[in-house]
């Protein structure tokens, strides 16, 4: 390292909407509860129900439910975003931290998406696409009005920028 000053990336200013935790929890439960139930059912129907396997299946099922309950909270804490006049800046990831910066001048497309369950919670995702094939910058679980406003602002800035953004 260069020594002297330590350099780091500051966390982006904003978090997802607090309702996101509930939504992610519901999402996780929708996916993981059937998995847990299937495991228990398979144990009950297809095996001769040995005790050790029962313990394993029990741990697995409880683990699934716990994961669905705990992961959203962890996710909510690490996922942050910020939009300045120059760039879109996001951070996510729990074990592997990933920061993404996309300058306004290179943004080609702004999409908002709302799934059916997401709509019940009044949330929306924003996907900001640049010309690169390396993937878009995604801001998840915003209040849908905030998202609409942000998308409008981003679109306006993008249209004002000359060039084909490559």
């Amino acid at each position: 390292m260069t020594g002297g000053a330590q350099v780091g990336l500051r966390p982006p200013r904003h978090q997802a909407d607090p309702r996101a935790v509930a939504w992610w929890t519901v999402q996780g439960l929708i996916f993981l509860v059937p998995v847990a139930l299937a495991a228990v059912a398979a144990y009950w129907i297809f095996t001769s129900r040995p005790l050790w396997l029962g313990a394993c299946v029990g741990v697995f099922a409880v683990g699934c439910v716990l994961l669905a309950l705990v992961a959203p909270r962890a996710y909510y804490r690490v996922e942050r975003w910020e939009v300045t006049d120059q760039a879109v800046y996001t951070r996510k990831g729990w074990l592997t931290h990933t920061w993404r910066v996309a300058p306004m001048s290179r943004i080609q497309r702004v999409d908002t998406a709302r799934g059916p369950v997401q709509r019940l919670f009044g949330l929306a995702d924003i996907t900001v696409t640049t010309a690169s094939s390396a993937g878009a910058v995604k801001i998840e679980a915003l209040d849908h009005e905030v998202a609409a406003e942000l998308a409008e602002r981003l679109t306006a800035i993008t249209q004002a920028t000359p060039g084909d953004a490559t």
Binding site: T2, A5, Q6, V7, G8, L9, Q86, P103, A134
Partner: protein, 566 residues
């Protein structure tokens, strides 16, 4: 039908067939197509300016269909001889089959030619095509980014060329427009018109590079040299097998096996030598075919690459699509002192499915020094300055960077090497554990011993890869470019135009965080989409990104005097 000897079969066949299939109208159509300026729109036309493809294509496809004829005739003969037909009947039947095949191919091609019309207006290039599903494609002329010409030997014999017009958008969606085929003259003039190059193609300063046949010494320096022969033999065996000549193939294979087992000391080295010799020969021939007459020119605003001894290809790349160059050095080539140059350009896309060669490849394997010079000339003639990190040249491991005048690459921290060594050791210990389990369980004693070769070989190669990979890591910031290098088996040095960087992705895994490293990935619209500076020191990497694109990352950086105690 029975008059068709195989001698001038294609000509006969197609004349007869087209006349009987399409009637006189199509013959007229073809006659005017040959002139190249047919105004009768054909089935879909009507408006002026619509032109057909080259009618001579029928001859070419007829000639090409002979390849299918050979296979079909062989199958027919084998089947009929098997079922006791008299020789005369067999000959007649195979002749009929041959005529049918040629006729079918030519008829299809005639239908395709009839259905295809193209037009060049002052604003756009239009193409109508499709026998059953009609398609209308149109490309505005100011969107044309590349015009590629390609002619295989048969097409060349008939003076034809396939023209492919690219718009530079992602070609996965089939935005390319292909005129298959035009006459060579038409194709060249279309190319010139599309690329607005009426003033003539004589920029004066000569080609950037031209083939030297001495470079053919790099051709065998590839893994394919040693595996290619086996693959070809395997394929041949398969082919013989499906043709029902498996008896011969099996007999040969059995004989070979008997010989090898009888005298392994003579046979094995001899076989290896033959394998290598055949591989070298194949590689040299392949090199000669694909890179013969190679020539790279800089025309105003674009690069033009011409190559191919038998199948000629001409590729044009606009310089404003260029976002950098990549120098790739696969292990064997690197040991031989060679390298290849590739472009990083927007909208070049992956190679089309039917093309095996890399679209981005700009040069054959050539001497490293030439590669670096060429890269420097393409990427911008001024050699970028060294980074501000003084004294970095001491730990720079690079060779070419210095020759290029780009200054040395900054090596990455020792922690990067430690990560790789640890990773290799973990892999080896897992393998060793498996080997231990196997040798404990396996009933045969020779397995118990030889299984230990796996972790031993893995240890040696893993450590080699770890150290080499760590040593090849490096980055630098030039006046116009961000340089990054990585890779053990294939060492890639990328010079990415800083103006082409459209964002950053910075990631830090759990283990990287503990080692004080991170991976800085420059996102770009060109090439593979992102180019990574792997396992760079945290402060180095962030400052590199901040400097490479001024003002983008800066607002999100925090500088702290003492963060260690936190």
């Amino acid at each position: 039908m029975n008059a068709a000897h195989t001698g001038d079969g294609p000509g006969d066949g197609h004349g007869v067939e087209v006349a009987s299939l399409d009637g006189g109208a199509s013959l007229d159509g073809r006659a005017s197509l040959d002139g190249g300026a047919s105004l009768d729109g054909g089935p879909g036309g009507g408006a002026g300016g619509w032109r057909g493809l080259a009618g001579r294509s029928l001859w070419a496809s007829g000639a090409k269909s002979l390849a299918i004829v050979a296979g079909v005739v062989a199958a027919v003969v084998r089947f009929l001889v098997g079922s006791d037909w008299p020789p005369g009947a067999v000959v007649t039947a195979s002749a009929a089959a041959a005529v049918l095949v040629v006729a079918a191919v030519v008829a299809y091609d005639a239908a395709r030619l009839r259905a295809t019309r193209w037009r060049l207006t002052p604003e756009r290039l239009e193409l109508r095509s499709g026998i059953t599903v009609r398609q209308h494609r149109s490309i505005p002329l100011d969107r044309v980014r590349s015009v590629d010409l390609r002619a295989d030997p048969v097409l060349r014999f008939f003076g034809l060329t396939v023209v492919k017009v690219g718009t530079g958008e992602h070609s996965a969606e089939g935005t390319d427009l292909a005129l298959d085929p035009l006459t060579r003259h038409e194709a060249e003039s279309l190319r010139r018109t599309l690329l607005r190059q009426g003033e003539g193609s004589a920029p004066g300063d000569g080609p950037l590079v031209e083939l030297r046949w001495s470079w053919i010494r790099y051709a065998p320096l590839s893994v394919w040299t040693f595996t290619g022969t086996a693959l070809v033999l395997g394929g041949l065996y398969k082919a013989l097998d499906s043709f029902g000549v498996e008896g011969v193939a099996t007999w040969a294979a059995n004989g070979l096996w008997a010989w090898v087992t009888a005298r392994p000391l003579v046979a094995v080295p001899l076989l290896l030598a033959v394998n290598a010799a055949a591989g070298v020969l194949g590689a040299v021939l392949l090199f000669a075919e694909s890179w013969g007459r190679y020539r790279l020119d800089r025309e105003p605003g674009r690069l033009r690459l011409r190559r191919g001894l038998l199948t000629t290809r001409s590729l044009t790349l606009e310089e404003r699509r260029l976002r950098g160059v990549e120098i790739s050095e696969p292990l064997l080539l690197r040991l031989g002192g060679g390298a290849r140059v590739k472009t990083i350009a927007t909208g070049l896309g992956k190679a089309a499915e039917n093309e095996t060669e890399d679209v981005a490849a700009l040069t054959p394997p050539l001497p490293r020094a030439v590669a670096w010079q060429l890269a420097a000339r393409i990427a911008g003639t001024r050699a970028p300055a060294t980074t501000s990190d003084a004294g970095s040249s001491a730990n720079a491991s690079g060779s070419g960077a210095v020759e290029m005048g780009m200054g040395a690459l900054v090596a990455h921290p020792a922690a990067a090497r430690r990560r790789r060594v640890v990773r290799a050791l973990v892999t080896v210990s897992v393998l060793a554990a498996i080997a231990g389990a196997v040798s404990w369980l396996a009933p045969w004693s020779w397995v118990r011993l030889s299984v230990w070769a796996v972790p031993v070989v893995a240890l040696a190669s893993g450590m080699w890869a770890a150290v080499t990979d760590a040593r090849s890591l490096g980055h630098a910031l030039g006046g116009r470019h961000l340089l990054t290098r990585q890779g053990a088996l294939v060492r890639r040095t990328v010079a990415l135009d800083r103006k082409g960087i459209s964002g950053w992705t910075i990631s830090e895994s759990f283990f990287q965080r503990r080692a004080g490293l991170l991976t800085v990935s420059a996102v770009t619209a060109a090439g593979q989409g992102h180019y990574d500076v792997v396992d760079v020191g945290r402060a180095d990497g962030l400052l590199l990104a901040a400097r490479a694109v001024p003002g983008l990352l800066e607002p999100f950086l925090v500088r702290e005097k003492a963060r260690e105690n936190q």
